[in-house]
Symmetry: C3
Subunit: 225 residues, 3 copies
């Protein structure tokens, strides 16, 4: 990779800040902004009106250790839609697909071949494996682990704060093991563990760990009879 | 309709690609992008920072028959908010209202007078009737049919993949008949049919067909006693 | 505050319309649009590709009394993310944080120190107190009141139309008293009142008022045994 000026096919009004590295055969849509230091691999396609490589603000009340953050890296073959925001400190793997209006925060890993749907949000410090599907409007809270081949249906919701701000608590999102599938609009509580190949039904509210291979449904979620 | 250069009132940094047709008395907000071949009727208003007429990427694992797709058509009198994305192959009818941050994919029909709320997403191959209301953050999955006068409350969720990627399955979204009303944050499973003028309560999880005129609530949804 | 030309640090392709007032030490990201008459206090930071100070369209079927609306005011020290839309007629207090892809409509009050998460939507005529937390993808319907120190978890859903468009009805959103906490993906029905320091569990569907200090869970929500 080298300077962007002779390789990328960029749209109109594109803003590319300094120290951006852009690989071969990259396409960047109109009005998209690529911020300081971002590294973009070969054959990456980015849509219009995106904001890529954002350095997080340090003024939130919690966890503002955002000094010296690594730049965003996007690896070869990844396709990013339109109106997307992605933060610095994050690594997006190869051949990932990210839908329109999605947002991915800092210190996130996104594994190769994973699909992140439209308007989905992935919060900071989360790790997403390879070949996962995170469908439209799904929400991955901070400090969450998805192993490989996990499926999150549309509108899946999670939280990572057991006391909703009321007490000191080490934030901890769900941990979802390989091959597990979460139905649309299901809710996962903080720190629950979903075992390998387990299935959570649509609209279920998961308050306790789910063992590998089991199917749970309902509010609260119970093993399906 | 004819060339855009002498008719539309366009904001700053607007990008209009080739073969775009723009009717009379059209307003296009700052930084909006109108892509190749899009056809825009009379009295249409489009907000700022939108991306309109997107040709879908062919690199997803499924259903990439996106060659020779028709351009996007937006009919007379329709108003589109800000930060909206709409795809090619879609027809948006007359006097439709589309809220900020909404996204509408390819091969969708949106009937006249319909309202699509902020941050709502309509996936591909879906058909939405006339005078429907799709409220804020609601989700219309792919291969879904909404007849006329359907009401989807905020955050309604749907899915169209019974096996969540695990088996071959012909994707099939819900089918919602004329005048049916779905309460906020209800979840509809793949292929369920909601009868004419039926009502689904807020937060209900609909796992089976609902007959015309009935009211269902709960998880799983049952006819209200 | 005075003219913007000598004070704000503005990115590329920024559009600032007439009669905009900008305080000292303001930063405005690339491709952001600041519309007519908006007033921005000192030390405000606005990200890229935002649309700020939008005058609402009057063509919706209901409540189009949007003539002579006051401009948007954003007070000192507030930080706004990227791809955000905010409307005229609204007052955003001091040191507020608004995440990426959020939208705030007209005639809204946002109290000092409040956090509004990514992709959250706040509809018109709502009042949000000081030091509230509205997490990612949460939805505040129109005509809603949040007192101070209220916590809405991610994906909280509300509605304000009891008859879903079927009958004349004075729209009325929930009323959430000081210190109440609503768990992720909970659903609140129109006009329900949540008492001081009450707690609503994740995924609960609240159909009736909740008394102060109580904890409710389930569908429909009941006091936890």
């Amino acid at each position: 990779m080298s300077d962007h000026s002779n390789k990328a096919q960029t749209g109109k009004n594109v803003v590319i800040e300094k120290d951006v590295e852009i690989g071969n055969n990259v396409v960047i849509g109109h009005n998209t902004v690529i911020l300081n230091g971002t590294s973009i691999g070969d054959n990456v396609k980015i849509g219009a009106n995106c904001v890529i490589g954002i350095h997080p603000e340090g003024n939130e009340t919690m966890r503002n250790n955002v000094q010296n953050i690594h730049p965003l890296t996007i690896k070869n073959g990844t396709k990013i839609g339109h109106l997307v925001s992605i933060y610095a400190g994050t690594l997006v793997g190869e051949n990932v697909f990210i839908g329109d209006l999605a947002s991915i925060r800092e210190h996130v890993l996104v594994g190769d071949e994973t699909v992140i749907g439209r308007s989905a949000v992935v919060e900071r410090n989360s790790s997403i494996g390879k070949n996962c599907t995170i469908q439209t409007q799904a929400y991955v809270t901070g400090d969450t682990i998805l192993e490989n081949n996990v499926f999150l249906g549309p509108n899946v919701s999670m939280s990572n704060d057991k006391y909703m701000g009321n007490q000191a608590y080490t934030l901890r999102g769900p941990s979802i093991k390989q091959g597990a599938k979460i139905g649309n609009n299901a809710s996962l509580l903080p720190a629950v563990q979903i075992g390998e190949n387990a299935v959570v039904g649509a609209g279920a509210v998961v308050t306790k760990d789910v063992e590998s291979g089991l199917v749970v449904t309902g509010v609260p979620a119970k093993v399906k009879a």
